[in-house]
């Protein structure tokens, strides 16, 4: 695929499968984690505004990692991710506000509940392929949101307020502390995702994605693994939804619209399908552009053309999203992660970069 860092010789197969190979890589990783830990306290991002942004990016990363396993690795398109986030969010909101469950119980429960719901909707979904699948997951979205808005115990159209998360006696009240919590969960979920895709289950997923007919003939049960992929993806969505609802401290059906599901798919494409890094790059890149467009450029543009203010800013975000994702689909379908790998490869081969 791509070259390994020079001077790395693997003495065992376990080492050959390792993600982090050299001392430099360990060093860089530790520095990265260090930066993530320090960011909310020092430097240009140490403000509520940026912390809020980073929290949201991190939550997006979790959700996209799940979608990545389903769509990027297993090749099953899903427009239902936002609805599964809603399931996680509402599980958390109900358990936390009505039953008083603590964070550490709510979070996994949200994931499991979303998994269960995801599993139910996966049963029709694994039987169909391609466009039929896309619409089936769309149906899942509509049915789930319909149920949330129509049922009484979900707070229906009114919504549910919840308290800040707490573990034992620690209440994650400040943006900084909640950021730490979210980043922690994000790192764990990302490591899990990476491990899942580099072990047996992950290979089976890729086999189904790349060639489902051959996979079937070569001993991979497509139904089981598609169900599994849907469940894992829903689990990730559930966790992301749970964190999001803790972040917002409020659950409302309008927070989990179809647009969210589309955004998640768009992020996946921009980041690069079937790449754990891609989910992270895509989340950061797309959210950043979205943020800049919506919060900074679009009101300014609106003020510049007062008679068209509303139209301008309403249209801008939509057009920018269209342009970004459209350009990536046409010119770099493998997304940012592919660019990143090219960059890495040319660094490793320097000064013979033309080898790639």
């Amino acid at each position: 695929m791509f070259n390994k860092p020079a001077g790395t010789f693997n003495a065992s197969y376990t080492k050959d499968e390792a993600i982090v190979r050299t001392r430099t890589q360990w060093g860089l990783l530790i520095i990265l984690v260090g930066i993530l830990a320090v960011v909310p306290y020092y430097g240009p991002l140490a403000s509520d505004y940026w912390i809020n942004f980073l929290i949201y990016v991190a939550i997006t990363v979790i959700s996209v990692q799940g979608l990545n396993i389903l769509t990027g690795y297993c090749g099953q398109i899903s427009l239902g991710q936002a609805a599964f986030m809603a399931v996680g969010a509402y599980t958390t909101a109900i358990l936390s506000s009505k039953a008083g469950w603590p964070f550490l119980a709510c979070l996994p429960m949200a994931g499991l509940m979303a998994t269960a719901v995801g599993f139910i909707f996966a049963i029709p979904a694994v039987r169909v392929k391609g466009f039929y699948l896309a619409i089936t997951t769309l149906a899942a979205h509509f049915v789930i949101i319909y149920l949330i808005i129509s049922l009484e115990f979900t707070g229906g159209s009114i919504g549910i307020y919840i308290e800040r998360p707490r573990i034992g006696s620690i209440i994650f009240d400040s943006p900084q502390s909640f950021y730490m919590l979210v980043i922690g969960v994000t790192i764990v979920m990302t490591v899990f995702a990476k491990n899942i895709v580099r072990t047996k289950v992950g290979w089976a997923f890729i086999a189904i994605r790349d060639n489902d007919l051959a996979a079937k003939v070569m001993g991979v049960n497509p139904f089981t693994y598609k169900l599994l992929a849907f469940s894992i993806s829903a689990f990730y969505a559930g966790i992301a939804g749970s964190l999001l609802v803790y972040h917002l401290q409020f659950a409302h059906p309008e927070h989990y619209g179809l647009t969210q599901a589309i955004w998640l798919l768009g992020i996946l494409i921009v980041g690069g399908m079937g790449s754990i890094n891609g989910a992270i790059f895509g989340s950061i890149f797309v959210r950043l552009i979205d943020e800049i467009t919506n919060i900074h450029i679009s009101p300014a543009l609106g003020n510049l053309f007062p008679s068209l203010a509303g139209q301008m800013s309403a249209a801008l975000g939509l057009l920018v999203f269209t342009a970004i994702v459209g350009i990536f689909i046409i010119y770099e379908p493998r997304g940012l992660s592919h660019r990143w790998q090219l960059l890495k490869a040319s660094y490793r081969l320097w000064p013979f970069s033309y080898w790639t």
Binding site: G130, A134, T136, A139, S150, G156, L265, I329
Partner: protein
């Protein structure tokens, strides 16, 4: 009983328009293998263009229709050339996402050009007729008649003309069609043109009842269960699926809403969800819809 007949007839009338819009999906799918999730936006834009023709350019109704078809048709071709051509050979997700972002972009364009205002669109008269124990409005009769006319016209076009035959050939086998000298790319343009025109007609017919707004694009989502039920590649499936969904919606409101309301689902409100649930059940039994072609997998 009275209610049943009324619901049935209203369902058939509106279902035909759904069928017409679904025809747009099917045509594009058959000729290019792409499910156009931006069909709803083509519907919405059609309604807006017609609104512009009537209320801004002050055209008479016939001219406004022609104007709408012309502009929509050009738009269809532009979309086909700019967004769809580069997708040949791309993975399925790219194709799906492309039509989704296209839908978002088209919505953006509509907002830029017309703002977010909701406008009335008055084309047909407002009288009412009693037919077979049901009351129907002039608008829905027109909608029904024009939809049937359009469907028949396109079916004939598909069967009889050179362009239609080329489209059928491409639908059967792209490579074989190419080898006998059919330019696939032109067929793409062709099918997108027709899809845009069909969508625009559907948009005008529906907007003459509920007014023109950006939200009209949600009709695209409403019509998706139609193609799911009918099968993505079947023209008669689109029409029958449309009628099924039209009737199912009305029956859900009439007879199922009170039931689920008793179960604790506030007010029922199954109209939008029920066709999807129906489609899910049909898919479990028939993964290619009621009339869709099952392709033999080769390895």
């Amino acid at each position: 009983m009275d209610m049943f007949i009324q619901l049935l007839i209203s369902g058939v009338l509106v279902g035909t328009v759904y069928g017409l819009i679904a025809l747009g999906f099917v045509l594009v799918y058959k000729s290019s293998g792409i499910l156009n999730l931006a069909q709803g936006e083509l519907v919405m834009l059609g309604a807006y263009i017609c609104y512009t023709g009537i209320n801004v350019l002050h055209l008479n109704i016939a001219l406004a229709f022609l104007f709408t078809f012309a502009v929509s048709g050009v738009m269809g071709i532009v979309i086909s050339r700019v967004a769809i051509r580069p997708l040949v050979g791309q993975p399925l997700l790219s194709v799906i996402m492309m039509t989704i972002v296209l839908s978002i972009g088209l919505r953006g364009i509509a907002i830029l050009a017309w703002g977010a205002e909701t406008e009335g669109l008055s084309i047909f008269g407002h009288s009412y007729y009693h037919i077979a124990g049901a009351v129907v409005s002039e608008q829905s009769i027109w909608a029904f008649a024009l939809s049937v006319l359009a469907v028949v016209a396109f079916a004939l076009y598909f069967q009889k003309t050179k362009g239609g035959r080329a489209m059928r050939a491409v639908a059967e086998d792209q490579q074989a069609a190419q080898s006998v000298g059919i330019k696939i790319i032109n067929v793409f343009d062709h099918s997108w043109l027709i899809a845009a025109v069909v969508g625009a007609l559907g948009g005008i017919l529906l907007a003459s009842g509920s007014g023109v707004s950006i939200e009209l694009s949600h009709l695209g989502l409403k019509v998706l269960p139609v193609v799911l039920i009918g099968g993505l590649d079947s023209i008669q499936g689109a029409i029958i699926g449309g009628v099924i969904v039209g009737i199912a919606e009305n029956m859900a409101v009439g007879y199922l809403d009170p039931v689920v309301s008793d179960w604790g689902l506030v007010g029922g409100g199954l109209r939008n969800v029920f066709p999807y649930i129906l489609a899910l059940f049909i898919l479990v039994v028939r993964p290619h819809g009621l009339f869709g072609q099952k392709r033999i997998e080769r390895i």
